[in-house]
């Protein structure tokens, strides 16, 4: 059951639902004050889940969600309030709303809908902002607060909004919290959820793995606004009376504290955080009240946050769910013996040009990084790209994959113009790449790193996991599947990165120094694996490396770049034999011709420069 993603998700949901049902049932037998405490913490838990869905998966700390809570609370309040009460408490309310008096559930759904609408509108902005998004969420909070204060006919402005029936019993709160936990846990391992977590670790690498970062952020934001709305709908019936200041910084900090203490990266962290903070606050409050020594709770809360940030900066439970942690040491079940045979064929005709990069020009504030560079990659062939440091090799790959925008370029992939195609779409159309300095999703498991790309290639999470495992097996790292990518040895990390690129089912693989940091044995092993991949999938490869031996044995043709220009192009040995190539490559322009000899003659000896 725990061996598949679906199984783990269901087991986890089942466990938490049972725990929350037990908490609710036990709570309902307690004296009213304690019961109210449990009810309150269940409502807060709903809000923590909303934050977890967005902030936990995207890594963007949100200050705005309490605004959605407020919008939903007011809307639910207006819809649920008896018409007779409205005449006194909301005399300025427009006529049609005056008479509305919905059943509680309908009113709550109305509140959630209102929060969702606001979530969609604000999300369209937030999702575009990238690094600035966190500050923008603060703006969302301030704007929504302003709206609540300003919409006097609906909210009574800054005055207390009162007259809401107090319908939030412990059962209403319990059901709301359970639904919130289910949504949060399902979202985490949904396609979008996995993509969003990849973008949390490295947005750029995620987009080269086919992740639509903005879209995933938008969906995460909207889903979390729905859950924040659910908290608001329950909170309105819990308080019965509130004003805009109840949906401002204090509540925001309460929810963020719970999430940060428990661990924002996992649903379990959010739940544990909500209960731990509630219990600590409650215990300290009781001690304080009994001794008339007040302020203990605030001091205690501050200490918990400090201790958490010091000892467990990612929260009590960190970034992983407990069930993922249990699977940590276990290797995933290995796929069928012939994993490579399972790889899909992408290019049918060997030798056919699949990637044309013509006349690429790129300047970095005056420095010409690429000066009319043209390189083509053919199916089932390996094109080597070498040149001294700073000659423009990585810039070429960045321009081709869309990470860097060239001044001029004609780019086609399988005959289709991709010059204006966004990074993620180029990846999905068949450009897989690795980075010179590795960019794995370090907080995701090895398997999830590759699953991200499989999902980009159109698979469901379940299929994606199976395909990912096959690809990892081809590269010989499947046994690491459940470990965190950031913990692997260097060489294995390189293989995971190649697997991730390969999982896009690409037409062309652009490998930027895949053998850097590997010893000769590892290099040879990698070479062998690349040959297998080439033969089974028909992928075209662009290979950048300084390892002359690797280049010589791997490449079908070779292009040499120097100062952003193509210096030589052709059959590898012939190119390497050209004196000016050796001169440029080793930086010995005017001197010792024997250097040429050395390059040309080096056999299997590794020459990493």
């Amino acid at each position: 059951m725990m061996s598949t993603r679906r199984g783990r998700t269901l087991a986890s949901i089942g466990l938490w639902v049972i725990i929350l049902i037990v908490v609710t049932l036990i709570g309902s037998t307690l004296p009213s004050a304690t019961q109210l405490l449990v009810t309150t913490s269940l409502v807060l838990l709903t809000g923590v889940m909303a934050l977890q869905i967005f902030s936990g998966n995207s890594g963007i700390l949100s200050f705005g969600h309490v605004g959605f809570v407020g919008v939903a609370a007011y809307t639910t309040g207006i819809l649920a309030m008896p018409a007779a009460v409205k005449r006194t408490s909301l005399p300025l309310l427009p006529e049609p709303l005056q008479e509305v008096e919905l059943p509680i559930v309908a009113a709550m759904l109305g509140g959630i809908l209102a929060a969702t609408i606001v979530g969609v509108i604000s999300g369209l902005v937030i999702a575009r902002l990238g690094d600035a998004a966190s500050i923008a969420t603060l703006a969302v909070l301030i704007i929504l607060h302003g709206v609540m204060v300003g919409a006097e006919p609906f909210t009574r402005g800054s005055q207390t909004f009162y007259g809401v029936p107090r319908y939030t019993s412990i059962f209403v709160a319990g059901i709301t919290a359970i639904l919130a936990v289910i949504v949060a846990r399902l979202f985490r391992d949904s396609r979008i959820g996995i993509h969003l977590r990849a973008s949390r670790d490295d947005a750029l690498a995620a987009s080269t793995a086919g992740v639509r970062v903005q879209y995933a952020t938008l969906i995460g934001w909207i889903v979390s606004s729905v859950i924040a709305g659910a908290m608001g709908a329950a909170y309105a019936g819990l308080l019965g009376a509130f004003s805009p200041k109840d949906f401002y910084f204090t509540l925001t900090l309460t929810l963020l504290t719970m999430l940060i203490v428990g661990g924002s990266g996992s649903v379990a962290g959010g739940i544990v955080g909500a209960f731990v903070v509630t219990l600590v606050v409650e215990a300290l409050r009781r001690v304080g009240d009994a001794n008339e020594f007040f302020g203990l709770t605030n001091a205690g809360l501050a200490i918990i946050i400090l201790l958490t940030l010091y000892f467990r900066p990612r929260g009590l439970l960190g970034f992983r769910e407990p069930e993922e942690f249990l699977a940590y040491r276990k290797s995933p079940t290995p796929p069928d013996a012939d994993a490579a045979g399972a790889l899909p064929v992408r290019n049918e005709n060997p030798g056919q040009t699949v990637l044309c990069g013509h006349n690429l020009v790129k300047n970095f504030s005056g420095l010409v990084a690429l000066n009319h560079v043209s390189v083509d990659v053919e199916a089932q062939h390996v094109m080597g790209l070498i040149g001294p440091n700073g000659s423009g090799k990585s810039t070429f790959v960045n321009c081709v994959t869309g990470v860097t925008k060239p001044e001029e370029a004609r780019l086609t992939l399988a005959g289709e113009d991709i010059a204006r195609t966004p990074v993620w779409r180029r990846a999905r159309k068949g450009l897989g790449r690795t980075f010179q300095t590795m960019r794995l999703f370090r907080e995701l498991t090895v398997l999830d790193n590759v699953t991200v790309s499989c999902i980009s290639a159109g698979m469901s999470p379940h299929e994606a996991d199976q395909r990912a495992l096959q690809i990892l097996a081809v590269l010989g790292v499947a046994h690491h599947g459940n470990r965190l990518a950031g913990e692997l040895p260097y060489g294995d990390q390189r293989r995971v990165e190649i697997s991730r690129a390969l999982a896009l089912n690409p037409r062309v693989l652009l490998l930027d120094e895949p053998a850097a940091g590997m010893n000769p044995a590892e290099s040879r092993e990698l070479l062998r694996q690349m040959e297998t991949i080439l033969a089974t999938t028909g992928v075209g490869m662009l290979l950048i490396d300084h390892d002359v031996a690797l280049i010589r044995s791997a490449c079908d043709s070779l292009t040499v770049l120097d100062y952003g220009k193509v210096l030589a192009h052709g059959e590898p040995q012939a190119v390497l034999d050209q004196p000016e190539v050796a001169a440029a490559y080793l930086g010995w322009r005017e001197s010792d011709p024997s250097a040429t000899q050395e390059i040309g003659a080096t056999g299997t000896e590794r020459k990493s420069l």
């Binding site: 004296p31 009213s32 004050a33 109210l36 405490l37 309150t40 006194t88 408490s89 204060v149 300003g150 006097e152 402005g157 800054s158 005055q159 207390t160 009162y162 007259g163 107090r166 909170y235 819990l238 308080l239 019965g240 009376a241 509130f242 004003s243 200041k245 109840d246 204090t250 409050r285 304080g288 009240d289 008339e292 007040f294 302020g295 709770t297 605030n298």
Partner: protein, 407 residues
Amino acid sequence: MNHSHHRRVTGALVAIAAGTLLLAACGSSGSSDSAASSDAAPAGESCTVKVGVATGQTGGLAYVDVPSLEGFDIWVDEVNAAGGIDGKFRVETIVKDTRSDAAQSATVAAELLGEGISFLITPGDADPSIAAGQLAQEAQVPAMSWFGSSPVLPVAVGDFMFSNAFGDNAQARVLANYATQQGYTTAYTLGSPDSAYTSNLPRYFKEAFTSNGGTVVGEGTYTMGQPNFNVIADEIKALNPAPDVIMTPAYEPDFPTFLKAIRGAGINTPVLGTDGIDSPTTLALGETAEGVVYTTAGVLANEGPMGEFFTKYNAKYGKDPEAIFAVTGYELGNVLNAAVTNAQSCDPVAIKDAITNLEGVQGITGTISFKGGDRMAIREIALIKVTGGERSLVEVVIVDPATVPAA
């Protein structure tokens, strides 16, 4: 930051204009005796009045809730030393901190109600008081806010909810009547939507002033903490007809900024303020603030009946009280004293009925009544005029509840 009124930084207040606040005939000591008439309650059995205090001992409301409780505790010590209320009803308090949070106020109130209290004290602000009061209402236990002045407070909860403060609407009535007496017929009001206090007072004033036959010729709004009021000054200058008087509930830092802006623009129209500006800052404005008239509950001064309170406070806490809420907190004790004396019972419903009928309870700043009102305390409101950098008393008024603008 939008709890009602009293923003006063009541630091070491200069003992000022002493006689000013010698409120009318209040010669008697702070400790209570009741002038109320009640339905001849039979002398009850001795019992203990359990008082639950669910207030913000920490957080944003501590500025009112902490001194209020200090004052109330002095009364409790005093009354128990005398054998209890009316010599037989001992008072026991259970204090719990709400951290100035509405949801926490409800939880704490539920706990206190679970302990069988006869009387609940709630924070000096409407939101948490309503949240706690709703539970008291359900449990049929009377609740009273330390000094929440929004007149909506009791309306929102029901017949078991009271406030020890005069309503903002009563304050506005006093200002409107003063304006009319001075012969002003046109007024400009400046409010802010940012808090209930700053948004409601201009509205109440307009209603009261209009009912006196006056006209509000302009209504401006500002953002709390706004750095510059020059545009508003220009707006006032451009008004035609020019207003006879300007009314605003703005307090620090807005009030000084506003006042400097209009005086700097050459507008010498008289200004009416509310109890939020009863602070040393206003007096320190010097010539700019000269002639400003405002309403307030009372001014801390080591003189007269309040001087006696200073002595008691000093004996218990070893310092002078720093906020008028210490005084009003003590006065809440006077109210409870009168109610239990009249009820001759610790039964919550009997106490609630007795509070509803209280009339003329002697406090420190004056008398306090609930009979005939809307469960907001009917108590003296002082009108103060800033003269030569000091407070001078214009008059002390008790507003007829019938003339107060509706909540």
